[in-house]
């Protein structure tokens, strides 16, 4: 571990990678601040640039920097404009915006920055402890267990989808898996579902799909609903200082929410949004009566809790990605896709085979969090100027970057037509409240899932691998339980009412 850590330090502190993490954080903050553009859209737009770098460590460091930056930027627009850029920062606006309205915008931003820094940093320490341990356990896994583990991950995403959304999340996952079977797979060397089209011979492009289901619908929604993009009111940012008493008061909140947020982030499908809402709810419930009434009216604890939790959860979501190669969220699914495009297979062997990537990413998290704290905080009043860009300029550029990202990735104009077609379909599905992240996760895991399934079937001459490998059976039972769980809950609540 120590050797790996040293390699990671060397890689992360190289001039190129430092530039990547600084650049990523700044780009992420700038774009994340724009209401309506979440980290998934930003990372999708940045992927062609990251892939062109050719260096997996640098690419992942850049994208991870963009990820933290986007979360931080989203908090800023939540606090200043009550316009959360991402769902994970909605809870931030509950108390952040009332503070800004009361003339404490600077203080709110400082608390958000410190909480984010602490959440991210403690999350990175926990990642450093848990990731190697989980990796060593995962090394014992065979293809049968991998197959079962991926099924667990996909089921968990559906289980956390929320009331009335479970079937939709499962259907979207299946649709993603079906899309992954299109084209000439490596395993069988024969075209499947290409309908005789040459452009589908190599299957759907992951970059095009990511752009089509995240970035393009966001831009179309901004056009449909102009109120989302334009905000004339802006709060002045003056005093950024917080008092000793305030720091003392939020310290335990930060400690609790860092740990809670991290473990929620580890769960596939849970992520920053659930972590931030749960963090807010927990702190409001355990707060003394005189502090409880301030929640929702500008409580510093109410601001620190979701900010810490969402950053810790972001770090936590890297655990299944780096140790098992299974993404737990749309964002980590995009990161996994980028790694696969760079010929890196994340999983338990990543730590031993590519220690420079594994450890450099973890080290870059510390650097990224520090940069966000020391660089962005004093620059926030200037960075916030991006919010004044008129939507008449903003939206065409978002669409243009989406098109360019897809074109650069494939160098094929037909890909742009596929992008537009898929984007329109994704927008219509989003209007009907179909979750899009499970589709991308299904698409990215599809080939790996089929490979492991086929390998297990061949090794055990059929479906016997489920019976002969107890761990596989336990994992598949767990997956079945996760799928049934929301329906059981629903039945129980019906009975109770």
């Amino acid at each position: 571990m120590l050797e790996g850590l040293l390699i990671g330090l060397e890689t992360a502190f190289s001039l190129k990678n430092l530039f990547m993490v600084v650049g990523g954080c700044i780009i992420g903050t700038f774009i994340g601040m724009l209401p309506g553009l979440g980290p998934m859209s930003i990372i999708a737009i940045m992927i062609p640039v990251a892939i062109t770098l050719g260096d997996p460590a640098a690419a992942l460091i850049l994208l991870a920097g963009v990820y933290y930056g986007a979360i931080f930027g989203g908090s800023t627009s939540s606090i200043l404009l009550n316009a959360p850029g991402v769902a994970g920062t909605v809870a931030t606006s509950f108390d952040g915006y009332p503070m800004a309205k009361a003339g404490m915008a600077g203080k709110a931003l400082t608390i958000a920055a410190i909480s984010s820094f602490a959440g991210g940093t403690i999350g990175a320490i926990l990642l450093m402890i848990f990731a190697p341990a989980l990796s060593s356990v995962a090394l014992l896994f065979h293809s049968a267990e991998y197959f079962a583990l991926m099924i667990v991950g996909l089921s968990a995403i559906a289980a956390f989808a929320g009331t009335g959304q479970v079937s939709k999340a499962i259907l979207m996952t299946l649709l993603g898996l079906m899309m992954a079977t299109v084209g000439e797979g490596a395993l069988y060397n024969m075209p499947r579902f290409t309908m005789g089209l040459m452009d589908l011979q190599s299957g759907f492009s992951f970059i095009t799909l990511a752009m089509a289901i995240f970035a393009l619908p966001e831009a179309i929604f901004l056009v449909l609903n102009p109120a989302r993009a334009s905000h004339s009111e802006s709060n002045k940012i003056e005093n950024l200082r917080i008092t000793k008493e305030e720091a003392k008061s939020i310290a335990p909140v930060i400690g609790r929410q860092s740990v809670q947020g991290f473990f929620i982030g580890v769960l596939p499908g849970a992520g920053a949004t659930i972590a931030s809402f749960l963090g807010y709810a927990v702190e409001r419930n355990i707060a003394p009566a005189h502090e409880k009434k301030d929640f929702g009216k500008g409580s510093i604890k109410g601001l620190a809790a979701p900010e810490t939790a969402n950053n810790a959860a972001c770090t936590g979501s890297f655990v299944p990605l780096l140790t098992l190669g299974i993404p737990g969220s749309g964002t980590t699914a995009i990161l996994l896709g980028a790694l696969i495009a760079l010929n890196v297979s994340p999983g338990p062997r990543l730590m031993t085979d590519e220690p420079q990537i594994f450890w450099a990413v973890i080290i870059s998290m510390y650097i990224g969090n520090l940069i966000l704290l020391i660089l962005n905080l004093p620059l926030i009043p200037y960075i916030a100027k991006i919010l004044t860009i008129p939507r008449t300029f903003l939206i065409p550029f978002i669409l243009f970057f989406t098109l360019m990202g897809s074109y650069i990735g494939q160098n094929n104009a037909t890909e742009l037509l596929i992008l537009v077609g898929l984007g329109v379909c994704a927008t219509i599905m989003r209007l009907a409240n179909y979750p899009m992240a499970p589709l991308l996760i299904g698409f990215i895991l599809g080939q790996m899932l089929e490979d492991n399934f086929s390998r297990s079937m061949q090794l055990y001459d059929g479906i016997n691998f489920i019976m002969e490998r107890p761990m596989t059976m336990v994992l598949l039972f767990l997956a079945a339980f996760l799928v049934i769980l929301p329906y059981l809950r629903l039945a129980k609540s019906k009975k109770a009412s």
């Binding site: 259907l171 649709l175 024969m190 449909l224 008449t392 360019m404 650069i408 037509l417 399934f453 629903l490």
Partner: protein
């Protein structure tokens, strides 16, 4: 029938076509030696096809009840004509046109036209500023993609 169930119906149709292709059009292409394998190229798609037929049917039949079914979205599809639908459709058409004209017209003409016309449709009336921003952004992006990333983008129409 609510909108999400219509979508499920479309996905059910896709699943039926997919399953038909998996069950009836793939296996006869298999070489004889592969037919002895316990798993065929059609095995996984067959499972996916059946599962997606079942799940989309669950949604169509409304077996999973949800009080807040569609209200979770930020745009209410029932009032879609109250939103800026015209410009949104126009921009989608512009994107398709951009895809078609990128190669024959070259990067500069197609990009400047796309950015300037899109901005105008969205309500920008400072034409000179719009054109200047579109032209300078096109040049900067072209320079970055071609010179820094090393990806060829034809700058001018084919005749040049």
């Amino acid at each position: 029938m609510s909108f999400d169930r219509w979508i499920a119906l479309v996905i059910l149709s896709i699943s039926l076509i997919y399953s038909y292709a998996a069950f009836f059009t793939m296996d006869h292409l298999l070489p004889p030696f592969m037919q002895r394998n316990p798993v065929w190229p059609s095995t996984f798609p067959k499972i996916l096809g059946i599962l997606s037929i079942i799940v989309s049917s669950i949604i169509i039949l409304g077996l999973e009840k949800n009080k807040h079914n569609i209200n979770g979205t930020e745009i209410d599809y029932r009032r879609i004509f109250d939103y800026n639908l015209g410009p949104a459709i126009f921009l989608v058409i512009m994107m398709a046109l951009y895809a078609i004209t990128l190669r024959p017209l070259g990067f500069f003409i197609s990009t400047i036209t796309f950015l300037a016309v899109s901005g105008y449709v969205l309500g920008e009336r400072k034409i000179i500023i719009l054109f200047f921003v579109a032209a300078s952004a096109s040049f900067i992006i072209w320079y970055l993609v071609e010179q820094v990333l090393g990806i060829y983008l034809r700058p001018l129409p084919t005749i040049f």
